[in-house]
């Protein structure tokens, strides 16, 4: 059984037991149990619906405990742990193919506007003045907030979604902003 099959097997067995994890789940891996327990407390206090679980041996890269999260909340969780100085090894998706797909960036030209798409998020800006004219896609709970903070702003002055958002959509939107900045600076 390879690593991917092992993950799917773990996912299926967990689904049967708890019906909690899904294809959108991820695992936060830690070097030692103390860090995992501390992280669980921090994340639960912050309101995240997470679960301390024991992964199969194939997934044990540090200690015998991992935290199962909703992968869409990965950026917010990473930032919270970094802020509280809780070190973790990495956050891994239970379905590896998903993260590869989400990193694909596509660019489309619409007259005076350029639309950059990353995963499920799209950002459009005016190529003449660099103003963000639209944000769409997602469905994550922080999207209306990110929209209110970025719309009608210059690309160079817009806040970075990964710094103010909490979800995978924010991370994808940050990729679109980064790509848009590259295009804008090239002229």
């Amino acid at each position: 059984m390879d690593r991917k099959d092992s993950k799917i097997g773990f996912l299926n067995s967990f689904k049967r037991r708890k019906n909690k994890l899904s294809e959108r789940s991820g695992l936060v891996l830690f070097m030692d149990v103390q860090k995992a327990l501390k992280a669980e407390k921090i994340l639960k206090n912050a309101g995240y619906e997470i679960k301390l679980v024991a992964p199969p041996p194939e997934l044990r890269e540090g200690c015998d405990l991992v935290i199962a999260i909703n992968l869409v909340e990965k950026p917010g969780i990473e930032r919270r742990l970094d802020k509280k100085k809780v070190k973790y090894i990495e956050v891994i998706p239970l379905k590896i193919d998903t993260s590869n797909l989400l990193e694909v960036v596509k660019i489309k030209y619409f007259g005076n506007n350029i639309m950059v798409k990353a995963g499920n998020m799209k950002l459009a800006f005016n190529k003449n003045n660099g103003i963000i004219v639209n944000i769409s896609g997602g469905g994550c709970p922080d999207i209306p907030y990110l929209y209110s903070k970025l719309i009608n702003k210059l690309l160079e002055e817009a806040p970075r979604p990964k710094n103010i958002g909490f979800t995978l959509c924010a991370l994808m939107l940050d990729i679109t902003l980064n790509e848009s900045l590259t295009l804008w600076r090239k002229g």
Binding site: G47, G76, P141, D142, I143, P144, S148, A170
Partner: protein
């Protein structure tokens, strides 16, 4: 009675219940001004305009501020469970 429930992207907006009005480009609920951008606010705005056109009672709204952390959503769920 039409009741619209949802969150709006204003961090410190408390749980607010009242009749929604549209004043200029803003949505007004009690004394709070809310931009009509995306999500709940857009839906409320459309509902207000529709009820005005149909000359029926304006929608009542139950909203709370939430910038994506889930705080406002949890406040709303708690309130709905209680009533």
């Amino acid at each position: 009675m039409l009741l619209i429930v949802g969150t709006v992207p204003i961090k410190d907006l408390p749980l607010t219940i009242g009749e929604a009005r549209v004043v200029g480009d803003l949505l007004v609920v009690n004394d709070y001004n809310i931009s009509c951008t995306q999500g709940t606010a857009s839906m409320i705005n459309a509902a207000v305009k529709t009820t005005e056109y149909l000359n029926i009672n304006k929608p009542q709204v139950l909203i709370a501020g939430d910038i994506g952390e889930g705080k406002g959503s949890r406040e709303i769920y708690k309130y709905l469970i209680k009533i």
